[in-house]
């Protein structure tokens, strides 16, 4: 095999597109050819560095909204009428917000609708590949990731020692606004903790509900609304919320 041939086939080797026979041929050539060996090594390093550095882009929220707004809106179905109407309105209103004309805040009487959107966002997140935008068990990686993506900085705490493993963060959309989602795992169960800004600074204690079979705990603290949602049991979710709040409190004092 000549180096020219090897150079082309190296690509397929790196990309896993080469059959076993040809892969052996290329590997044999590389073993006896320092030039091609150096090339293969560099290409592999480049691939790894690219995967590590994060060279993808995230579509701006306004783009998603524009596309949503241009598509025909879902027609209300009998059982989910209120939910869908709210969704359609959310998109139309947020198109205004995106242009900076209107600032939307989450209002208390919207909570019902938002709750169902939180459930939808949770369901979406469970589809393959949608759970996390930033994958890390390190709170000091996840928390800064939100900077510049949201107008709030969601508290991110590591609760591994308490039995809830931090696995990453995600930008999601609820009420057609970007919202932070901090993702934890408990055994095989996923807990999404959604965090959004609220105008009220008053503290509202945890309210627990069940919606479409998911347990939801929502509360407000220091100008942030929280929704914790999961398919784990109510008691376990309550335990999670307590531990989260304790850890956030401890972080503030520390």
């Amino acid at each position: 095999m000549t180096c020219d041939e090897a150079e082309i086939l190296l690509q397929a080797l790196i990309d896993g597109e080469l059959d076993a026979g040809h892969a052996r041929d290329v590997e044999n050539h590389v073993e006896g050819c320092p030039r091609c060996a150096a090339m293969l090594k560099d290409y592999r390093e480049m691939s790894l560095a690219m995967a590590d550095a994060g060279v993808r882009y995230t579509a701006p929220a306004a783009l998603r909204m524009r596309i949503e707004a241009a598509l025909p809106q879902p027609r209300p179905m009998q059982s989910r009428r209120a939910v869908l109407r709210g969704f359609a309105m959310g998109s139309a209103v947020s198109a205004l917000a995106a242009t900076g004309l209107v600032a939307i805040v989450l209002r208390h009487d919207d909570m019902e609708r938002i709750q169902s959107e939180v459930v939808s966002a949770h369901l979406r997140s469970l589809q393959a590949g949608h759970l996390t935008d930033v994958v890390s068990t390190d709170q000091h990686t996840v928390k800064p990731w939100f900077n510049g993506r949201l107008d709030v900085s969601p508290p991110v705490v590591d609760l591994t020692a308490q039995g809830f493993t931090l696995i990453g963060g995600r930008l999601d959309y609820v009420d057609a606004r970007p919202i932070g989602a901090v993702v934890y795992r408990r055994r095989q169960h996923v807990i999404n903790l959604f965090v959004a800004q609220t105008t009220s600074n008053e503290r509202r204690n945890v309210k627990s509900e069940t919606f479409q079979g998911f347990n939801i705990h929502r509360w407000s603290e220091s100008g942030l609304n929280y929704w914790a949602i999961s398919d784990i049991g109510k008691d376990e979710l309550a335990d999670f919320c307590r531990k989260f709040e304790t850890a956030v409190e401890a972080n503030k004092e520390g």
């Binding site: 690509q11 550095a53 994060g54 598509l71």
Partner: protein, 186 residues
């Protein structure tokens, strides 16, 4: 401003949303690399989704991502053509400022300096953006979008052999820039 999709078919829209919207970031990433301009990329992606929705009835699968990419690529080529006929705005006249910097220099600190990896990813993005077409397209589809050779061949409308030789060329160019960068760091 792309036109609003006129067909009022909520069920189709629902299926389309579920099938296509999960690839929004992928599409936006590809458009950013192809057009090297964030505003143009947004417009192209929006146009791509509206076209895709219009033709969604004829979509037979199997993979949504390459199908969307093929549409997006056509939209981007139309944008190239437009730039070529607009004397004040061709692709060479208005590259993003980052692309004018030599490959082996670090970009200025971004406002989001808290991202420890920002410099690295900026550097790599700039190197990739500096690749010439059609090598950039092939490289991005493979290395960043994770398409198979066959899928890339379909999107780019070339034989698989051409995909491989373009990829070899792209990686060789990138490697030169890469090694120059590492020299600089030392």
């Amino acid at each position: 401003m792309p036109s609003r999709a006129s067909e009022d078919n909520p069920e189709k829209a629902r299926r389309f949303r579920e099938a296509a919207l999960p690839y929004l970031n992928d599409a936006y990433t590809l458009a950013r690399y192809l057009l090297r301009d964030s505003t143009d990329a947004e417009d192209a992606v929006q146009e791509c989704y509206l076209r895709a929705f219009k033709h969604f009835d004829s979509y037979r699968g199997p993979a949504m991502k390459p199908w969307l990419f093929a549409i997006l690529r056509n939209v981007c080529r139309a944008e190239y053509a437009r730039r070529a006929t607009t004397p004040t705005s061709t692709i060479d006249d208005v590259p993003e400022s980052a692309e004018q910097a030599p490959l082996w220099h670090e970009a200025q600190e971004t406002p989001e300096a808290q991202l420890v990896r920002a410099k690295d990813s900026d550097t790599i993005r700039r190197m990739v953006a500096a690749l010439t077409e059609p090598f950039r397209e092939t490289f991005v589809l493979r290395e960043i979008e994770n398409l198979s050779y066959r899928e890339i061949a379909e999107v780019a409308e070339v034989p698989v052999g051409t995909v491989m030789s373009r990829l070899a060329r792209a990686r060789a160019m990138l490697r030169s820039a890469w090694l120059a960068e590492q020299e600089q760091v030392k």
